[in-house]
């Protein structure tokens, strides 16, 4: 196995200029702020966080759909910015949340799945048909279903089409952005099982973005927790779920409602101030909601404190590590 990580991200940053009004000067929103990580080939990095934390912006930069404002994305050891679109598409492919809006409603399933092959060009009709059929059968769709339109399929079947389209170029990496959030639980289970099976059989690497911690715990080998554009804690999945260090990670874990009756609704201990990416708090950006915040938190941004295979950005962890 090669030591080159499948995905490596170095100091990634993305700033959006947001217009506030016709004559007001634009304001800068830092959606992703100094994010670095490496995903070894064959593993699954789960990225969790609330809406607006920058997880989808991060995914779009890794897919090459959005240029970073600073920093580098390396896929399989090569800089994404040095690749052309076709080479990029052969390496890394997306699966998005909503299979209702991510498939062209006026094309048949097999044409949707063939599109990436067509974009690559230089392929015979028979070879194309063979590859499309292979991709469809991989995700459990029949040839007959290939001649239908997306509107004739259920949500789970549509998500299978999206996965087939992602696999048809035989990529190394698949970026899944909330792939099961729009699906019913029984269908979610089918899709998660399919993704796990494909990863094992094809040796894929996933970047798996989700707001559902129970799902991330089930699929991810590493987890990164994002808050207002920064990774505030990251570690191997087992370590992070067994021993979360950041108060935000703890609050996220506490708010997972497992189907266990009698436990009631937990008090997550966060105030009612909501994170606003256009107005990032000073010091530690989590301090207005943190139940454990003290004098230092609003003043000084915490440094990365390493623990295990990962790190945590919290003053309390810094203090604990110093003692």
């Amino acid at each position: 196995m090669s030591a080159v990580p499948a995905i490596e991200v170095r100091g990634l940053r993305r700033i959006f200029n947001v217009r506030q009004g016709l004559f007001a000067p634009p304001r800068q929103v830092v959606a992703v702020d100094d994010v670095s990580f490496a995903v070894p080939a064959g593993s699954v990095l789960g990225v969790v966080g609330e809406s607006g934390c920058g997880k989808s912006t991060l995914a779009r930069m890794i897919l090459g759909l959005l240029p970073p404002s600073a920093g580098d994305v390396l896929v399989d050891g090569q800089r994404l910015s040095d690749m052309d679109r076709r080479a990029r598409a052969r390496l890394i492919q997306p699966v998005f949340q909503d299979p209702f809006s991510s498939l062209n409603p006026r094309r048949r399933v097999r044409d949707i799945v063939a599109m990436p092959l067509m974009a690559q060009g230089n392929i015979s009709r028979t070879e194309m048909d063979r590859r499309v059929e292979e991709a469809l059968s991989r995700v459990g769709l029949s040839v007959e279903q290939g001649s239908r339109f997306p509107s004739q399929l259920s949500g789970g079947q549509r998500q299978r089409v999206a996965i087939a389209r992602a696999l048809v170029l035989r990529p190394r990496i698949v970026v899944c952005d909330e792939p099961t959030s729009a699906l019913d639980v029984s269908v979610q289970a089918q899709i998660l099982n399919l993704l796990a099976e494909l990863r094992r059989e094809l040796g894929l690497t996933y970047l798996f973005i989700s707001h559902n911690l129970a799902v991330v715990e089930h699929v991810a080998s590493e987890v990164a927790v994002m808050y207002l554009g920064r990774i505030v804690e990251t570690n191997e999945s087992e370590a992070l779920f067994a021993d979360p260090r950041h108060p935000y990670t703890r609050a996220l874990l506490a708010s997972v409602l497992t189907p266990e009756p009698g436990l009631g609704v937990p008090d997550v201990g966060l105030g009612d101030t909501m994170p606003d990416p256009a107005n990032v708090p000073s010091g530690c950006r989590f301090h207005p909601r943190c139940p454990l915040a003290f004098e230092r938190c609003p003043i000084e941004a915490p440094k990365r404190t390493p623990y295990g295979a990962g790190f945590v950005e919290c003053h309390l962890a810094e203090t604990a590590a110093a003692n």
């Binding site: 609330e50 289970a189 129970a214 009756p261 609704v265 966060l270």
Partner: protein, 325 residues
């Protein structure tokens, strides 16, 4: 004592499609009854039918539809609209679409009281501010003057809850009230609902697809499949001893941290929800059921499986327990 809401044999059809096929349920005062099921099972249609808010083309029939001891089956639109927002309040999934973007929070909240009770403006504003405080909104005075787009999703849902409480309702119908929210906010909102219910003794009919929400907040659960309640039981009983194959399948589909190991396959239910043609008979789940047999084609008995526990299934009582042994 009669139940706060008593629905018997409710049927809803849209043209040739039967969306709800003979549902019975009750909500007692101070009780949270959860209707759980997957999309298209008819849970939202059930709640809309109870409130008399079915879309055009929807036909409702019921053996009984009683609210606080009064049969409201034959209520017209005027009588229903007098009830809704007053003694029977609602919260929907997406607070942005249920709030009017052109009016301030304050004017929408006070309208409820002024319309149903004719309360003077100043008094209604006081009441609105008091309730915003009650649902955990700091600086209620400021929020009353704001428009819905100026609030976050969690704040909007709090506003919806406060608005629903304006007239001291007896019954609250909440359709997926936390589905559009982040997990941390979801926990906060559900905690708030549970607290308010305890305080005011509300009856709540909560519609959700999330078994986690059900387990944590419901007193009683009814599991819906293809327009029918296939299993109904007190919450602890349902999770401890599910008797319908669909309920059992659903429970294995949910990833629970610490229960299913990473990379081990989750349970799943093969196939999908069938379309139910008019005149369909037998169990609607039979084509997806691992225990299906000849009797599933005929009429399915609703059998008791314990105190307050009913199952719509041909499998004999205690069948799963014997299988496990």
């Amino acid at each position: 004592m009669s139940a706060l809401l008593d629905v018997r044999d409710l049927r809803v059809t849209f043209g040739g499609t039967a969306a709800v096929r003979g549902i019975s349920l009750t909500v007692e005062k101070g009780e949270t009854h959860c209707l759980v099921g997957e999309s298209g099972c008819g849970k939202s249609v059930t709640s809309l039918a109870v409130m008399g808010l079915l879309a055009r083309g929807g036909r409702r029939e019921a053996g009984l539809l009683s609210f606080a001891g009064t049969d409201i089956r034959n209520y017209g639109e005027r009588e229903m609209s007098r009830l809704r927002g007053d003694r029977m309040a609602m919260i929907f999934q997406e607070p942005m679409t249920s709030l009017n973007p052109a009016y301030t929070v304050g004017s929408q909240m006070t309208e409820v009281l002024r319309r149903h009770r004719g309360t003077p403006r100043a008094q209604a504003v006081d009441r609105a501010a008091e309730l915003l405080g009650r649902v955990g909104i700091t600086a209620p005075g400021l929020r009353l003057g704001q428009y819905p787009h100026q609030l976050s999703g969690g704040l909007r849902q709090r506003v919806m809850i406060a608005m629903a409480l304006m007239c001291d309702p007896e019954l609250l119908i909440a359709d997926e009230p936390t589905t559009a929210l982040d997990v941390t906010v979801q926990a906060q909102i559900l905690r708030l609902l549970a607290g308010i219910q305890k305080e005011l003794g509300l009856g709540i009919l909560l519609i959700t697809h999330d078994l986690g929400v059900v387990a944590r907040i419901a007193d009683r659960v009814s599991v819906m499949y293809a327009g029918e309640v296939v299993e109904s039981a007190p919450t602890a009983q349902l999770f401890a001893d599910p008797q319908h194959p669909y309920t059992r399948g659903l429970l294995t589909c949910v990833p629970v941290p610490g229960k299913v190991r990473r990379d081990e396959p989750l349970g799943s239910i093969p196939g999908m929800v069938p379309r139910i043609p008019p005149g369909y008979s037998g169990c609607a789940f039979r084509d997806r059921c691992p225990h299906t047999h000849a009797e599933c084609q005929g009429d399915i008995p609703r059998r008791a499986a314990g105190p307050g526990h009913e199952v719509l299934c041909t499998l004999p009582a205690g069948w799963f327990a014997r299988q496990a042994a």
